[in-house]
């Protein structure tokens, strides 16, 4: 593939769709978390690629895409900490990590 904007967008589309497939088909709660990480990475690639290739509307916007990627990484760290705490707490209660067993969460 050539080094161009559409190539990066195709790579991030692939990452996004594989992440989405993982989220949809895994029954292991930690497997679902991995799918979410793939989706967040796809977003990050998009932001950085746009910030590299597109003409900024103002000179001060030159690196805004990279700053947004930093925020995504920070939010991913927070998300995975809380999600793993919930998964471990559910595991110690239900002795299972299979999301289809968490039926009593229906309320």
């Amino acid at each position: 593939m050539p080094y161009s904007l559409p190539s990066f967008l195709i790579v991030s589309s692939l990452l996004f769709c594989l992440g989405m497939y993982t989220v949809l088909t895994r029954r292991n709660a930690i497997g679902i978390l991995m799918g979410i990480e793939l989706i967040l990475n796809a977003t990050g690639i998009n932001f950085v690629a746009f910030s590299r290739f597109l003409e900024p509307s103002q000179a001060s916007n030159l690196l805004s895409g990279q700053v947004f990627t930093l925020f995504i990484i920070a939010i991913a760290a927070a998300e995975v900490a809380v999600a793993l705490a919930i998964v471990l707490s559910l595991y110690s209660r239900m002795k299972s990590i299979d999301v289809e067993e968490y039926r009593e969460l229906h309320g």
Binding site: Y3, T25, L62, A76, A85
Partner: protein
Amino acid sequence: MKEIIFNVFVLLTIIPCFWVALSSNIVHAAFSLLVTLFGVAGLYVLLGADFIGVVQVIVYIGGILVLIIFGVMMTQRGKLQPLSVQLPGKFIGALLSGTILVALILAATRSLWPVAVSLGEPEPTSAAIGNLLLGKYLIPFEVASVLLLAALVGAVLIVRRSVRGE
């Protein structure tokens, strides 16, 4: 030369990613995720985002992935659980994500992007990003730090309560 390195990193990102999605062994999936995250860091560096590439390696590979592997190890006692849904669910998942993939690729290749006329040489970005974070994006930056603190306290609280409840 640049294109060869780019393609190497693309393969390094995409091939383990299939393994993450399709492998029936969750430990293999976790270690494939490591290679994928490393490939993404390489793509960031190729895009001229040196700081983001390093942060990706430190935070994702050094932090998030270690947490995920710990989670995998702590939840694998006893019999191995079935890892994915049965066939009709798999088919529907593949159909949905395949449709979205085709739509995204068409949108990426057919659109007319306002691409910059000449790509400048990549420059060191750390200083400029630091100025942006403490200038234009000061409030989101502070909110992110509060969010991280809240996530830290919340994670400890959730796990402690469940341990005490047992």
